[in-house]
Symmetry: D3
Subunit: 70 residues, 6 copies
């Protein structure tokens, strides 16, 4: 399968907290990963982003989609 998404990170399930409708699943990522972000060019300039910068990549948990081999 090929996904139309730039971030495909391999993780291991560490815990599952079941709720009535939504559940919170936690993962450990040990393999070095590549990540990608699409932001406005205006934000690139505002952040003065340049190669070599160290940044924090913040992602709300609702945007993380787990995919498992059937």
């Amino acid at each position: 399968m090929k996904y139309g998404a730039r971030n495909n990170i391999v993780g291991t399930v560490k815990s599952i907290q079941r709720g009535d409708i939504m559940s919170l699943v936690k993962f450990e990522v040990t393999v070095p990963a590549k990540m990608a972000s699409v932001i406005t060019t205006e934000s690139v300039d505002d952040l003065k982003l340049k190669v070599g910068d160290t940044v924090q990549l913040v992602v709300k948990a609702v945007h993380v989609l787990p995919v498992k081999e059937a």
Copy 2:
């Protein structure tokens, strides 16, 4: 600063592709990271997710928010 998000991953900028409105920024993540996903409890059951499972975490690049110390 504290973020109301479960994913805070440290990354290093590897490349920046500037576009007219949107830009694509790529990062390398070397530090082992913890990630979290919120999905429906129904999806947890459908995926038969359990502790120890290896999964792929797919995230569209538009959902990744870089934060940089001023």
Copy 3:
């Protein structure tokens, strides 16, 4: 009303599961629909997407916004 979104699909409510904070609503879509996706051009190339391809369109339920006539 006009929406700044490319996907406007007509659906009929089939079930509602109420939770403490979030609820899960299911719909049936019978009318043929048009859908649209914005992805990186890099993803288009990676997927080797071309006219006529059959693909799966995956959308997390938290991104679906129901709108109802008052």
Copy 4:
């Protein structure tokens, strides 16, 4: 593959508009589909949503993830 998402719709690519960083891909969905939405329980009450209601399901194109068999 199993996805931690409630919406998996089969579509056929109708057109691809390539941009510098982002591209817009359009699909035709002919198979009847099931869709799901997660909203606040407060919104369910505000919309007075009930089984049998016809609603519009609005989704921004950036939230639609195409997946293709390799």
Copy 5:
């Protein structure tokens, strides 16, 4: 029309920057607005959020959907 979303803010268009595929639209919000956020209960605790706290509400521009009367 009623939207299954907790944030409905009235804004006036200040500028439009047209790009090949995506455009960036800026708005001025003068009317006092109410906003709402859904985060994990774990994040609420991590942030030690309590009534009266002043916070910054960060939203990526791709998540803002303009709706206009026809």
Copy 6:
């Protein structure tokens, strides 16, 4: 801190509704705010958006990220 997001709105917490996994937090925004939206150029044309237009900015609560000074 600098965020790769175009919307940074100052708000005061008015109420917190704790749920099992997710919580709903409400804010009051009194300061005039600037907002930004990224939509397809096609949507700009469909909406016939122009400077001076009054629109509604709809944002699902799951997309609002509160950030608090530590």
